[in-house]
Amino acid sequence: MYKIVRKEKLSDKIYLMDVVAPRVAHSCLPGQFIIAKVDDKGERIPLTICDYDREEGTITIVLQTVGASTTRMVELEVGEGFEDFVGPLGNPSDLCLEENLEETKKKKIVFIAGGVGTAPVYPQVKWLKEHGIDSTVIIGARNKDLLFYEDEMREVATELYMATDDGSYGFHGNGCQQLQALVDEGKEYNHCVAIGPMIMMKFVCLLTKELGIHTIVSMNPIMVDGTGMCGACRLMVGDEVKFACVDGPEFDGHLVDFPQAMARAAQYKTEEGRKMLALQEGDTHHGGCGNCGGDK
């Protein structure tokens, strides 16, 4: 069992947990992710690494309830744990590699984090700060209640901008509009990292293409094993088929086929909805899910 040593509720459906996983903490770098499985019947869920403590051997993850497995995950309390927790998976962010340090120092970097995308952005910004590199961070969400990690991010970002679609906190508008506003003010960026829901990354890429800012996105497609075996996470980048788990998760955002990636991400929506229904209804479940045949 991989024990939970800290748990915080960040918003209605978003939770933060510190999990003891020494092997992952020993080797992970910003940009990588883990796969967690809550219990015997659980699904393997890819989750980004928000922070890590090599000495304590812990990994900080942020998770949002989406389906049956993630719902059971957030019900776990401190002292309980995940049945399985494996990583780090994927490649570290190019920005946060020692060998690229000189190159990175020359860049004018802006991060745009959307929703739970704040989690994977944080370790990158923190790494850059530790290496004396400035970065601007924009955190966007639908409303104030969905924002998290502001204080932590403020400590590591050179400049931090908060944006909400409804104007309930910070800038009134989304991350794209905030970036446009900063550029209009005369700020200059030549490297953008956008991490969040696919629809948000797609719109950031449309804007940055126009603005001529090189943009990296972190893709979060459907995965099963996460080690390059199943091919579920394949996506088109330029003319090539790439596997997000072994070739990514970061790609040149201007080359990613977002419409296709978004369609593929929704592939199991119906199935998941049915499982969720079965979970919510528990022992009172007698059909309607399309799987159990209880209503036939």
Partner: protein, 460 residues
């Protein structure tokens, strides 16, 4: 029980109509009496060809002799000297081209059902709580094995028997490799067969650490330098699924056989587990190997009409004859000498059909098989809501790209000596699909065995 020495004792199977709707094992195995009767057909050849046909060289006539006399425990001991996974091999080995293919009985009449007897003995041992015994004498050497599939389990088991301290590192959450993610329950039961045989390997003293991805969680160099392993065996299996490169392949409803089977087998999507699986109504499986048969028969059990589309003819199907036979019995439709040219989609990007071209066989190619050639103008379309690509795999780069001094060939497979498993890096050995590309369980076990010998030599 009366026996015709030329005819094998028939084995009971679930009725095809019944089993096409469940995931229970197809073959029900021999009873004691049937096994003893079948064993009595063996002529106990002095120069037994069957042994040479077995990649792990089980002393076949010796164990069959014991079965004939009802000494099943002794038979199990004889098999266990050579194989760590007899209940698995008895079920999934291509015996017709190995031991049974060389059986002298087979020249005139049916060969002995060696695989079914092996399975009987292993199942009997399991039911009667008989386990291989651990070697109490440790030799003090530490060996790391990467991958708890057939190659790794075999290598680890053989080394543990010799007193090595062995730890297997497994990337997935469960040990077994292809035995748990690839081969379906109806061919190889997971709890009753695979888990039990993995447990037997552990009983030999082998430690298995799951959820460790060598090349990511830790590198081979770190295993040697920081965790004091003196030798490493890489049995990490095959890797990334291949696709055809035809239009429409990224559409929704197109899966690799690996994904489809992993969801169903490892993640148990056919039961009330969380992992979803796409249950098509009309499924086209592209390819003709054992994996294609597994995918086709799984899709069938999930409720679909299933077509296997293969570009050569029935004679060239790489799948085992028994698998093809079972698939046909269950109602899988074979569209042979045909090849997809495009996957068709609806407005939302879901598969709604497939365009296929007919083929004919031309001159033999490098593999000696007649090359399939397209028949111009023969294209046609069929409706389908699911396409499963079962075209083999290409090597996973996770280990080769993170291990200094480990050479790979131009296909990306690790280069290892066949007789010892030795790679270009001192103290590092490899075998199984990571070396050969996708092959069979038993060939991987054979390679694991050779490498165990190579590792033993290394310490002499």
């Amino acid at each position: 029980m009366a026996v015709d020495v030329l005819v094998k004792v028939p084995i009971s199977e679930q009725d095809p109509k019944v089993r096409a709707k469940n995931f229970d094992e197809v073959c029900l195995g021999y009873t004691k009496e049937e096994a003893m009767a079948e064993a009595s057909r063996c002529i106990n050849c002095k120069n037994a060809k069957c042994i040479t046909g077995c990649p792990v060289s089980i002393n076949i006539p010796a164990f069959i002799e014991q079965v004939k006399d009802g000494n099943f425990e002794k038979a199990y001991e004889i098999i266990s000297e050579s194989s760590a996974l007899p209940a698995v091999c008895g079920r999934v080995c291509p015996q017709e081209s190995q031991c049974e293919g060389k059986c002298i009985r087979g020249f005139k009449g049916d060969p002995i059902s060696i695989g079914k007897l092996e399975r009987f003995v292993a199942d009997w041992a399991c039911e009667n709580g008989i386990k291989p015994k651990a070697n109490p004498n440790k030799n003090g050497h530490k060996v790391a094995v990467i991958g708890a599939g057939p190659a790794g389990l075999t290598c680890a088991g053989d080394l543990a028997k010799e007193g090595f301290e062995v730890t297997i590192f497994e990337a997935l959450h469960e040990a077994g490799g292809v035995l748990v993610y690839g081969i379906p329950e109806f061919r190889l039961p997971k709890d009753d067969v695979v888990a039990k045989e993995v447990e037997n390997v552990k009983n030999l003293g082998v430690k298995i650490e799951t959820n460790v991805i060598v090349g990511k969680s830790i590198t081979i160099d770190e295993l040697i330098e920081e965790e004091n392993f003196e030798a490493v065996f890489i049995g990490s299996g095959a890797g990334l699924p291949r696709f055809m490169g035809i239009p429409g392949e990224q559409a929704m409803g197109v899966f690799s056989a690996n994904e489809f089977l992993t969801r169903n087998n490892l993640m148990k999507a056919f039961k009330d587990y969380d992992t979803p699986i796409w249950r098509g109504k009309k499924v086209v499986v592209v390819g003709g190997g054992n994996v294609a048969m597994d995918a086709a028969r799984t899709a069938l059990r999930l409720g679909a009409e299933v077509h296997v589309v293969y570009r050569r003819s029935e004679a060239e199907l790489p799948a085992r004859v028994e698998e093809v036979h079972h698939a046909k019995e269950e109602g899988v439709i074979f569209d042979l000498l045909q090849n997809p040219t495009e996957i068709l989609t609806d407005d939302e990007g879901w598969v709604n059909g497939i365009r296929i071209i007919k083929m004919e066989l031309g001159e033999p190619d490098e593999s000696g098989r007649r090359r399939p050639v397209e028949i111009p103008g023969s294209e046609y379309e069929i409706e389908a809501d699911t396409v499963i690509m079962s075209l083999g795999t290409s090597p996973n780069p996770l280990i080769s790209s993170t291990t200094k001094g480990l050479e790979v060939n131009k296909r990306g497979c690790i280069i290892a000596r066949e007789d010892t498993g030795a790679t270009s890096k001192d103290g590092v050995y490899a075998g199984g699909d990571a070396v050969t590309g996708a092959a069979t369980v038993i060939l991987a076990m054979g390679a694991g065995k050779q490498a165990a010998k190579g590792i033993m030599e290394h310490f002499k």
